[in-house]
Structure formats: structure tokens, C-alpha cells
Assembly symmetry: C2
Homo-oligomer: 197 residues x 2
């Protein structure tokens, strides 16, 4: 990796955390300078604006989360196992987060309404990807007889994402992983008892 | 109501919305001046600091939500009906929110970590209240034979709150109430099928 690329990568890694912890509006250039150990010019050398940096840092965070999805879905073909794999992505998510500060998609969803609209659009696309993954898994699973006939792909997607994200929020508020753990436990039982054919 | 009290009330009503929509850090005094139509002095006449105003505005929001809890729990004694009443609090929550901007407890939980620590403490207390309500309802319900023996009060509390809050978050991100509606539907089925004795 060229030295310039290494610096770029380091800025993204550190900025992803700052934006995720402080929010788009709350994260100042001074915070990012402090986190990266670079001067203003050193940052603007690689990213033309705070907005552009925030977008790339968000994509960087998604890549980190994407790796956990890959790891947990790899080799799983049965729809119920794939749904359990999605749940497993969030085991240890609070204790050992891909990017500190909680879920970047939720953080952006909740972030002040006068935040970065391009970032909001990106968060919606990330959520579309996640919903799409669950919707396709459930639809195929029903088709193949791996899941029960009544399983509604869109309902399962809304439920799984809501329960996981709300659990992360509670665990973040209390600084205690027990809430997300209980949420994941419920989803596992729901998949085994109500969804698996 | 005295004129001074009316002004105070009006500031709280408007400031509650501003803080809930923009977050503690994101809401500026200028935003609050604009929302209330008052000058700086007019606001500081009633509240000694932004921090104090934010705390009182948060309590005001909780009162608004508390009224919905009262309305939906009133007259219900059976534990399963009380749990369904808690779910019903969030019917129409996105379309007709007690305070615009989503759930103030979730917003504060997600708000930047350098936000107001006193506000964070208050959000935790509000969450304790909500959890306590569900925990006591489930414990009593099991004791009275209204709910199944296996129902775990703390688990039901974490699950119900996670699912509702995550649903509100998704609906906020998409501007579409369908996600919270699906989340509430799941909780209703869970209460009837898995919890009611």
C-alpha cells in the first residue's frame, strides 16, 4: 500500500469511530484532527469536505459490518440457518463492536434531522441491503419448504432488524450487553419454533 | 394559570420538540428562540441554562408519553391485557407522536456520547420506569396464573422495549409506519400465543 493510501485508510478508520460516537453534526473537524493526529491540511489532502469524509467513513463502517455478515453466513444454505447466522452477527456486537459507538445505520437514522442528507440516503441503502438479505432468505426458504408457508418475508425482516437494533440501543443506554442478548435469544427461539418448517 | 407560567409552559412545549428532533448538542439556543418566538432573555428568565431547559423539556416529553400509558392501561387488570396495553401505546406513535422527533429516551440513548450526562441519567431513569412496569406486570401475572410459568419478567421487558424502539427507528429512517406496525403485531402474537396462560 502506498504511503498516501495508508494515511487515507488511517483517517477513515479513526473518523469512522468519531462519526459513529458523536454523530455527523456532533463530530467536529477538531475531533477528527485529534483522533487522526493530523492537521486540517493533512485531512483535506485526502477528503475534500467533512461531508465527503463522513460518507466514506460510513461506507468503511459498513464494510467492517459486512465482514461479520460474511463470516456468519459463510457455508450456510438452509434458510433457517442463514437467519440464525444473521442473528449471530450481533453476538458480541456491543462488547466487541466492528466500529465503536453502536450501529452506524441506527445512529444515522436517529441523528438530528438537519444532519447530512447524503448520509441519511446511504443509511437507508444500507438498511435496504439488510432487509433485502432477510426478505430473499425467507422467500427462498418458504419456496424450498425450509420455512413454514405462513412466514412473511417483509414481516420477518422488519421484526429481526427492529429487535436487534432496539436491543443494541438498550444495551448502549445501560452499558450492559444483557438486553441485546435477550433480544437475540428471542429471535433464535422465534426462528426455530415459528419459522423453521 | 399566571402569564409567567403560561410562557414557561409554552417554552417547554416548543423546546421539547426542538431537543427531540435535533438532539441535545444539535439544538442551539437560536433554534429554541426561533421555535418559541422569544429573545434569549425571555428564555433565561424561566430557565437558567440550556442544560436545565433540556432536562425540563425531557420531563415534559415523558409526561406526554405517560398520558398515553395511562390511557392505554386504564381499567386493565389482567397481566396479558396490560402488556397488550403497553403495546397499544405505540399504535400511531409515528403518525401522531406525543412529541415530534421519535422516542426521546431512544434519542437520548443514541445521542452523542459527549451529550448532557444529566439528560442521559434521566433517560436511564425513564427506561427503568418502563422496564419496571413490564417486569412487575409479568411477575404478578405469573403469580396469579394469568401468564405462563416460564415467562421471565426481565426478558419480556428487554424484548418488548427493544422491538418497539427498533421499529420506531426503522419507521423514522424510512418515514413509513409499517415497520413499527409489524413489530407491534409480532409482540401482540407473542403475548397471546407464548405468554398468556
Amino acid at each position: 500500500m502506498r504511503k498516501g493510501d495508508q494515511t487515507r485508510e488511517r483517517i477513515l478508520l479513526r473518523a469512522a469511530r468519531v462519526f459513529n460516537e458523536k454523530g455527523y453534526t456532533g463530530a467536529s473537524l477538531a475531533d477528527i484532527m485529534k483522533a487522526t493526529g493530523l492537521e486540517k491540511g493533512g485531512i483535506y489532502n485526502h477528503f475534500e469536505s467533512k461531508e465527503k469524509l463522513a460518507l466514506e467513513a460510513f461506507d468503511y463502517s459498513l464494510q467492517m459490518i459486512g465482514k461479520r455478515f460474511e463470516r456468519n453466513l459463510s457455508g450456510k444454505t438452509h434458510a433457517a440457518d442463514r437467519l440464525l447466522g444473521v442473528v449471530a452477527v450481533f453476538d458480541g456486537y456491543v462488547e466487541d463492536p466492528p466500529v465503536p459507538g453502536g450501529c452506524p445505520v441506527m445512529n444515522t437514522a436517529i441523528d438530528s434531522d438537519d444532519g447530512n442528507p447524503a448520509l441519511r440516503k446511504r443509511a437507508r441503502q444500507a438498511m435496504d441491503w439488510w432487509r433485502g438479505l432477510i426478505v430473499r432468505t425467507v422467500a427462498k426458504g418458504v419456496e424450498r419448504g425450509e420455512l413454514r408457508r405462513g412466514a412473511d418475508p417483509e414481516e420477518v425482516a422488519s421484526l429481526m432488524i427492529s429487535t436487534v437494533e432496539g436491543g443494541i440501543m438498550m444495551s448502549k443506554l445501560y452499558g450492559d450487553p444483557v438486553h441485546v442478548r435477550r433480544a437475540l435469544g428471542h429471535l433464535r427461539r422465534h426462528i426455530e419454533k415459528d419459522l423453521r418448517a
